[in-house]
């Protein structure tokens, strides 16, 4: 093993970061392509079909279009904040990705490579903290447009995100109590040791997390602040071209990160199903990274599936749900988990 602090903390992470930065825009482009295709099939039509076979080159065409559009900023807008807002969203989303463990470690050229860029022992806390910075981007984007309606849309989005973050945090706390650690790879390890994915131990938490996740990322059925059929078009009304694509990239980054967190906390992260069962050892041939991608991919599909099926909530109903239903449920879940742990401890010990 040739690991040195330089390799562990600088070189290998840099290589992984470069890999993500290079792959990520293309990845998001194809996630959008998948979204358009899936939505189209749900709606009994075909989706992009013209650009390339089955429309596979559509994301490239879209990227070229967005990059060649005129860069417009409203004259009365606060230009510096206007430019910074989408960048914040993207940066925050990508940074949060650094905490996710995406596969088991392997050895290459004599170096131990771990597939999480940063493995802090307060991983969950760090990830949630970084993700909540995205609210700044929304508010600043709405503010910088210097127009009534984007501002209102931005404020609503921000309020929605903050409310559902509380529910999210309470839900996650319950899982942390069971796992006993804040570190993300530690949680995966705890799931391996207990032999059960936490989705079976915390079913209510799982459902709550999914709903809060959809609300966090401003997706249907919680996307009133950005819906076009309402009065306001949302905080990114004034953005076009390249800057708008940053908002989109940031939104999809948030989706990927939240799905990744969900998978790590509840579905065993990059582990194969039934990690302790010897009989299924052949499944180990599939690397952990692939399992991770498969699971996250399923939840991205789930986001799209819900979008094609449900109408959207009115804003007051959305906030009412968040504060009056989900937070109490999450707190109740927390208490129940704590109580159960206490009982198990006293019975066992």
């Amino acid at each position: 093993m040739n690991n040195t602090p330089l390799s562990d903390f600088v070189v290998i992470p840099l290589i992984l970061i470069l890999a993500i930065l290079l792959i990520f825009p293309l990845l998001v482009g194809y996630i959008v392509y998948v979204e358009r295709k899936v939505l189209a099939f749900i709606q009994s039509r075909l989706g992009p079909m013209r650009v390339g076979p089955w429309g596979l080159l559509q994301p490239i065409a879209d990227a070229v279009k967005l990059l060649t559009k005129e860069d417009i900023a409203p004259r009365t807008a606060d230009v510096f904040i206007f430019k910074i807002a989408p960048i914040i969203l993207l940066v925050v989303g990508l940074t949060a990705m650094a905490f996710l463990p995406m596969g088991e470690g392997f050895t290459a050229f004599g170096y131990d490579v771990s597939l999480s860029i940063v493995d802090v022992n307060v991983g969950v806390l760090a990830l949630l903290a970084v993700m909540s910075l995205s609210t700044y981007s929304i508010v600043l984007g709405g503010w910088a447009s210097n127009s009534k309606y984007p501002l209102l849309g931005g404020l609503r989005s921000a309020a929605q995100m903050v409310s559902y973050e509380v529910a999210l945090a309470f839900t996650v706390l319950a899982t942390l109590m069971i796992a006993g650690t804040l570190s993300l790879s530690g949680i995966i390890e705890a799931q391996r040791q207990s032999g059960l994915w936490y989705v079976f131990v915390q079913p209510v938490g799982f459902v709550l997390f999914i709903i809060a996740m959809v609300a966090e990322t401003n997706r249907l059925p919680f996307d009133l602040p950005e819906a076009e059929s309402e009065l306001v078009a949302g905080y990114f009304t004034e953005y076009s071209g390249f800057r708008w694509s940053f908002f989109m990239l940031g939104e999809y980054a948030a989706m990927v990160v939240m799905s990744g967190l969900l998978v790590t906390l509840y579905l065993g992260g990059w582990m194969r199903p039934f990690p302790n069962v010897e009989l299924l050892g052949f499944l180990d041939l599939i690397p952990g990274f692939t399992w991770f991608v498969l699971k996250v991919g399923f939840f991205i599909y789930f986001f799209i599936w819900i979008r094609g099926t449900y109408p959207r909530y009115r804003y007051d109903q959305l906030m009412g749900l968040g504060w009056k239903v989900f937070i109490p449920l999450a707190i109740a879940n927390l208490f129940a988990t704590g109580l159960a742990l206490l009982i198990i401890d006293s019975v066992a010990g």
């Binding site: 309402e230 009065l231 099926t309 109408p311 909530y313 009115r314």
Partner: protein, 366 residues
Amino acid sequence: MLKTRDMELNMGPQHPSTHGVLRLVLTLDGETIVDCKPVIGYLHRGTEKLCETRNYYKNVPFTDRTDYLAAPNNNLGYVETVEKIGGYEVSERALYVRTAICELSRIASHLIWLGTHALDIGAQTMLMWTIREREVILDFFEAALGDRLTTTAFRPGGLRRDLPDGWVKAVLGFCKTFPDRVDEYEALLTKNRIWIDRTVGVGVISAEDAIDMGLSGPLLRASGVPYDIRKVMPYAAYDKVDFEIATSNDCDSYARYEVRLKEMRESVKIVEQCLERLPEGPISGKVPRMLKIEAGAEAYHVIESPRGELGYYIIADGSDTPYKCKIRAPSFVNLQAITQMVKGLLVADVVTVIGSIDIVLGDVDR
């Protein structure tokens, strides 16, 4: 001391959800609507004045363009009024074909209502599904009438041309599969928690208020008044077929949704009965080529359009052009009630209410 002031907000005339060029001036207290004043007339084309300058045959295309989503129904109202004042007989075959086509048009109109209403509330899938069914119906119209949307379907006395071969069989085939589609729509929306939250209790108008405001069609029936012109004053072949009226006692948008879905199912039954019993015979009664109707003959004749009571008030003056042709448009009358329906609701509900009233601006403005 904080002083608050009501805000005036302008919705439209260009807006994705107002279903046309409609302008609503909303007075808001925060997010709650204090007053809503519709401003119309953006699509006013002077149809009634134009009708006074052309003869009775040439006026039929104007009626397509008022309620353009249910053109055959409009055509039927007009030609039946002309037949009434002129005393012209309609052939048996024409009666049944007219009924079948008007019911198909009712289904098509309700389909696009459902698609756009659901789209405004956020269920984007519904629009694609309903348009898929509507395309089939529009193909039927193109085959039988020559046009998909503005059909000019009938002429005083009967039909313009007979049905093509195989048309009846194709439509009966459609009638067999359509109820399953309606089941699909119901599966997506009827018990959907979010749909219920967005439409129950939204846009309530009581039966007394509805009658006072002259509402008609699914709005009135959803408030509990079983007034369906096809039953109380049957025209065409409606007294010869079996169907039920859809009513509900809930008076809100969800009730109107249920009423219209049930109407779609009943319309399918009517089409099937008409086409199965279609008699052979001439497509038109004996009507002169130059329709001169004597002075003083006048009539106000109503039919049930998908939007409500569609009335034509035609006065003849002895020549072959009408002296006056007033179109009593259901959307115009129904839209007036929006002020009452949205008081106290939130801004996002305005879109729901407009969708559930089901207006067509061509009908409102003529």
